[in-house]
């Protein structure tokens, strides 16, 4: 952030008179605004795509009234949510009730900061990137529990308790499943992890094909992360047919919209992290985007990253409309009896592989033979 501010000052001497901290702050706010706009647009268009995909899978049409092909449906929905009456139940804990949606939204939105969108497109390349994502997304559980408790509704409370148990349980397999990528890159920074996958041309530099254990850990991560972000088939906290709608049952209007946006934000974060850690991030197959001039390199890598991430988001939607829901005890069993041991064994396997083959993956080993 500071380096960006410095280059801005050197590029435009006119603002050199302004105190340096002010310029830095300005850059920060601008970056945050860009990310927010991206998150909101993704939430809006994501909801449209989700409904179109659902329509396609379910032999219906989906939204088709507002704008061409119903493309503006999300604007209509957004306007409706803003204009709706904001109801706070009489017996609710007002302070917590009002606070909860923001915590949930911040938890998912703050993770966008370290998403490596392109060669140089990252709001802040923290050297603890992966750890940071794990930390801020845990904030969501506080918000959800708060929402469930403050609503003073038993269904909401049950949803909140389910969410707390679920998110905490699945954080361990998620963290452990992503560790192989960290081990290979030798860094927690997401940008470093992405760069470490550019070694070989084509898709063979990806961590996914590094060794059998990383291949497996991609699927472990994707499954566990679906559960951690309450996506179907692990959407128990908001199980419509059991808990009516779970922790957000008493929310309406814009507060509900925040929960909704957070859900889409989570979807994107899961997809983005999986892309960055296993699918080569912004690396263009058979092409070196970072060798291009900055503008074109960034644009190209951004496009490639988004295509990969959106592809995974589509897979999530597809899963969502195909599978039924697990029961809460089955969900816990799956985490503690299967995913946690598997991810640990997997991590051990990756570590041993790196030790034995001196950090080389299968494609590299094959390449070294010829």
């Amino acid at each position: 952030m500071e380096s960006l501010a410095r280059s801005l000052v050197s590029a435009a001497p006119a603002i050199a008179g302004v105190p340096f901290w002010a310029v830095t702050l300005l850059v920060m706010v601008a970056t945050a605004a860009v990310l927010l706009v991206f998150a909101l647009t993704f939430g809006g268009l994501g909801s449209y795509v989700l409904r179109k995909v659902a329509g396609d899978i379910q032999v219906r049409i989906g939204p088709n009234r507002v704008g061409p092909y119903g493309l503006l449906q999300f604007l209509a929905d957004g306007a409706k949510l803003i204009l709706k009456e904001d109801i706070i139940p009489a017996k609710a804990d007002r302070f917590l009730f009002v606070l909860a949606p923001y915590l949930v939204f911040i938890g998912s939105f703050a993770a966008f900061v370290v998403v490596p969108f392109g060669v140089g497109l990252i709001a802040s390349d923290l050297n603890i990137g992966v750890y940071y994502v794990m930390a801020v997304t845990s904030l969501v559980v506080v918000g959800i529990l708060m929402a469930g408790w403050a609503s003073n509704n038993k269904w909401a409370l049950l949803g909140g308790m389910r969410a707390a148990a679920q998110i905490i349980s699945y954080e361990i397999p998620v963290g452990m499943a992503i560790m192989p990528a960290v081990l290979i890159a030798g860094s927690l920074s997401l940008q470093d992890i992405v760069r470490s996958q550019g070694g070989l041309q084509g898709i063979f530099g990806w961590n996914l094909f590094h060794n059998p254990f990383t291949f497996f850990s991609f699927f472990l991560y994707f499954t566990a992360a679906q559960a951690e972000t309450n996506q179907t088939p692990f959407d128990l906290p908001e199980a419509e047919s059991e808990l009516v709608s779970g922790y957000n049952v008493e929310y309406s209007g814009i507060r509900y919209a925040f929960f909704f946006l957070a859900e889409f934000g989570d979807m994107f974060i899961v997809a983005a992290l999986a892309t960055a850690c296993f699918l080569g991030g912004w690396h263009v197959p058979f092409f070196r985007a970072d060798a291009l001039p900055p503008l074109w390199g960034n644009l190209l890598s951004l496009g490639v990253f988004l295509i990969k991430a959106f592809g995974l988001v589509l897979v999530m939607m597809w899963v969502r409309w195909t599978l039924p829901r697990l029961r809460v005890d089955q969900l816990m069993r799956m985490s503690w009896k299967y995913l946690v041991p598997l991810t640990f064994v997997n991590l051990l396997g990756v570590s041993l592989w790196l030790l034995i083959f001196k950090g080389k993956g299968i494609p590299q080993l094959i390449a070294s033979v010829f």
Binding site: K154, L158, M161, S241, E242, V244, P324, R325, L326, V328
Partner: protein, 376 residues
Amino acid sequence: MTRPAEALPTQEMLINMGPQHPSTHGVLRVLLRTDGEVVVNARPDVGYLHRGLEKIGERVTYAQFMPFTDRLDYLAAMNCNCAWAWAVEKLAGIEVPERAEYIRVIVCELNRISSHLIAFGSFTADMGAFTPFLYSIRERERVNDLFEAICGNRLTYNYARIGGVSADLPQGFIEKTKEFLDYFEPKISEYNELISYNKIFVHRLANVAVVSPEDAVGYGLTGPNLRGSGVKFDLRRDEPYSVYPKLEFDVCVGTGERGTLGDCFDRYMVRINEMRQSVRILRQAIAQIPEGPVATKVPRVFKPAAAEAYVRTECPRGETGFYVVSDGTQNPYRLKIRAGSFVTMNIFEKVTKGLMIADIVAVIGSFDIILPEIDR
């Protein structure tokens, strides 16, 4: 450090599931006493949809009661229509032309398919998979089209009449029905591939809410719920009425194929398999249907002699029985309706003990209850 138990007291929570709840299939209210997610006790509280159908039956004439039977089980209105007609015909000793009986069997079996489709679809939706519901609606739409061609209505048909049916089959109906059957039969296998043997789905249903064959008989379960427990009892075969003796079909029973005999999965599979049998019955019925009149003349002022009759028929949700007492006037003296879903509620409290909250939804879905039949 261990704390004494009384320092951290826990309390059972009383939750009100319904009458407004997405998975109670109507206005059923279940009082859940839970210990966390585990249900200690679930007591169904019925009566939110009570309309006094039996009393209404005593205040209207026999013919006028026909539209009310549509509202007894709105997902299987044809079956209820015909059940009422058969009851009154037995009471008054009316002979019904054979073509009319065939038409009744055809519409009853079509309605059984559409009712089981809704049971299948809403059950999977309760389990969190929303997509199969829309597939089942797609197929049901075609049954509705057939019924619309017959009687102009798509939900409350009011098609049967005392002494026959209100109108003959429209032109091309037999062909359209054949078309539908050819289209529909492969779809059942598609459902099985899509959801029935899905691992999550099986895990949610197998060994949940097991009803032993003794309990099923003891608590008076009927229809698919009874057969799900492995009891081979079907009124169409064991106490045949109408033209069912001339038709060949198998009685589907639960086999405990994925868990214990009589669990939710067995009840679910019985319905899936029954749709196949209905298709089989329909194919025979449309091949055998004779020409002829579709109704006998019944006097406009219809006064059966003082008598009483009980007729029970196999409806999609179990046995629907009409007990009619006539005192020689235009109205029944007494009418008692026996409905499958209402009797099923007896065993609800027993089988739900110790289940999870999510299982309650599975139990309600697997019993395939419908509220107008419970509350009447």
